[in-house]
């Protein structure tokens, strides 16, 4: 349901209540699903039904609700079909406003992005919990508490004044990064198919709103570069195609140019940060579409820089792969040995990298073992198919 984020956002603004917006939307969707043919203007239709459902929910919630008020509210919320058809579609963009609300500094820092992922991206709590590496019940409680805080503490539903924007930026960027990570990992499209495009649009909007913030530009460039290869990531058999095997001719050059422009703007500020470095890495990969080859030396030094500003086992694994490209598989493997695989909550990328370098070093049996280890970490469908195909090819040799 690709209109979901926009509708939830519009409903939240309408009711000034995040919980109610979600509940009302779900109730409207349930009505829609029980009807045979979907209405033509589905977004407008859902919006008007959800508004009425929202009023029903308010009525149920309020113990001392007086009948007179209910009648007045319902009358106000009711719409006949003529009005529904006239309802403007697309519904005005409320998502941005909602993103700022979810990232209000009165909400605990570690909860802001989680709340935004739930409300704006519609990610299931189990997915959000995985992104934050905590248990689902704990995440559920955090989000519930945050929604109550928004409602009871009277966090305003207006776009904050411009001077209050910067203190919300970090949480906004983190939200977009994690949302895109979730969409990207879900290459086979088990989540909302529109999520990736949605995050791309939001990141571009944030870059436009914060042209003075190099990290905002960096993140928009990063997401846009990843999206420029999106359609080439999955083969016809549904298996993932790794970057090195993709045909760069098919990448979206317009997107690459846009990302390059953002990154150029960011570099002028001379305040480096992780998003700019990650975007620079992806831009170096993207240059293969123009120059025909990959500058691995540049990529290796960018990973060195990333290790300094945002060290982590996944960055370490990727740096080992870059070193292998520059100096050979043996040195890459030596670098991989230095990675503490136990620190990885999901060691799949580590074992995939090992398999790649072991294969290159001619150690096929060890490579197969590494692939088996990787497959134990429940890869999403597209990656699983890719790893299995790879494993089959290694067994045949």
């Amino acid at each position: 349901m690709d209109a979901r984020p926009r509708l939830i956002a519009a409903l939240a603004a309408h009711f000034s209540d995040l919980d109610l917006a979600e509940e009302a939307f779900d109730a409207a969707l349930a009505v829609c699903l029980t009807q045979g043919d979907p209405p033509d203007h589905i977004a407008g239709w859902l919006m008007s039904v959800a508004r009425r459902k929202g009023i029903d929910i308010i009525r149920k919630r309020s113990a001392e609700f007086r009948a007179g008020d209910a009648a007045a509210l319902i009358k106000e919320g009711a719409m006949d079909m003529g009005e529904v058809i006239a309802l403007p579609d697309p519904i005005p963009d409320e998502r941005l406003r909602l993103l700022f609300i979810c990232c209000h500094p009165a909400i605990a820092l570690e909860t802001r992005a989680a709340l935004a992922l739930k409300i704006i991206c519609g990610l299931p709590v189990c997915t959000i919990a995985r992104l934050f590496l905590i248990g689902e019940p704990a995440m559920f409680q955090r989000i519930t508490r945050a929604k109550a805080k928004v409602r009871e503490a009277g966090i305003p539903f207006d776009l904050p004044e411009r001077r209050d924007w910067p203190e919300r930026l970090d949480a906004i960027l983190l939200t977009l990064e994690l949302a895109y990570t979730a969409a990207y990992q879900d290459a086979a499209g088990e989540l909302d198919a529109e999520l990736s495009a949605e995050i791309g649009r939001l990141a571009a909007m944030i870059a436009d709103l914060f042209p003075e913030e190099p990290e905002a530009l960096g993140l928009a460039a990063l997401i846009t570069l990843a999206r420029s290869r999106e359609t080439e990531r999955i083969g016809q058999d549904g298996a993932m195609i790794p970057l090195s095997k993709q045909d760069p001719v098919l990448w979206n050059r317009q997107a690459i140019e846009q990302a390059r422009a953002w990154l150029d703007m960011a570099m002028i500020k001379q305040q480096t940060g992780p998003y700019q470095i990650m975007a620079a890495i992806q831009l170096t990969h993207a240059r293969r579409a123009f120059h025909g080859e990959t500058d691995w030396r540049a990529i290796a030094s960018l990973y060195d820089a990333l290790m300094m500003v945002r060290p982590g086992p996944v960055v370490h694994v990727n740096r080992a792969l870059a070193i292998a490209e520059c100096k050979g598989a043996e040195l890459g493997l030596a670098e991989l040995d230095a990675v503490d695989a136990n620190r990885l909550s999901n060691a799949r990328p580590y074992y995939v990298a090992r398999a790649k370098l072991l294969e290159r070093a001619g150690e096929n049996e060890a490579a197969i073992k590494a692939l088996d280890s990787a497959l134990k970490f429940e890869p999403p469908r597209a990656e699983r198919l890719f790893l299995q195909k790879w494993r089959d090819a290694l067994t045949l040799i």
Partner: protein, 119 residues
């Protein structure tokens, strides 16, 4: 919505060498805030409290009757020194007023929504 702005400030800030001056400046800050509140038309109330050593606390251990103690509820570096209640549209507006409360030295303003009577 009504918000209570609880002023937690360090009483030591009023006890140093230039105590009289700090007190004078802080009071002037409060007077300025009160004038602004009056001019803005925001409904408000508020009080300054006597020092924490004048407090008496009725403490409940969870079983049986409360016992009286000499002193404030929380033994912290900052003491509850006063409060305002402002009636404003939302949290951001409450924060804006809270920022105008003068705090000499270290301290904190807690901003709490008042539970509405009709809920």
């Amino acid at each position: 919505m009504q918000y209570m702005l609880l002023i937690n400030e360090s009483e030591d800030a009023y006890a140093g060498e230039n105590a009289a001056q700090v007190m004078e400046e802080t009071l002037a800050g409060h007077m300025k805030l009160i004038e602004k509140l009056a001019a803005s038309g925001v409904e408000w109330s508020g009080n300054r409290l006597r020092e924490a050593h004048t407090a008496t606390t009725l403490r409940y251990s969870g079983k049986g009757e409360g016992a009286l103690h000499d002193g404030p509820y929380a033994e912290t570096h900052e003491e509850l020194g006063g409060y305002y209640i402002v009636d404003v549209p939302d949290l951001d507006a409450a924060v804006e007023w809270a920022r105008m409360i003068p705090i000499p030295g270290a301290g904190a303003i807690e901003i709490r929504p008042v539970w509405p009577e009709d809920e």
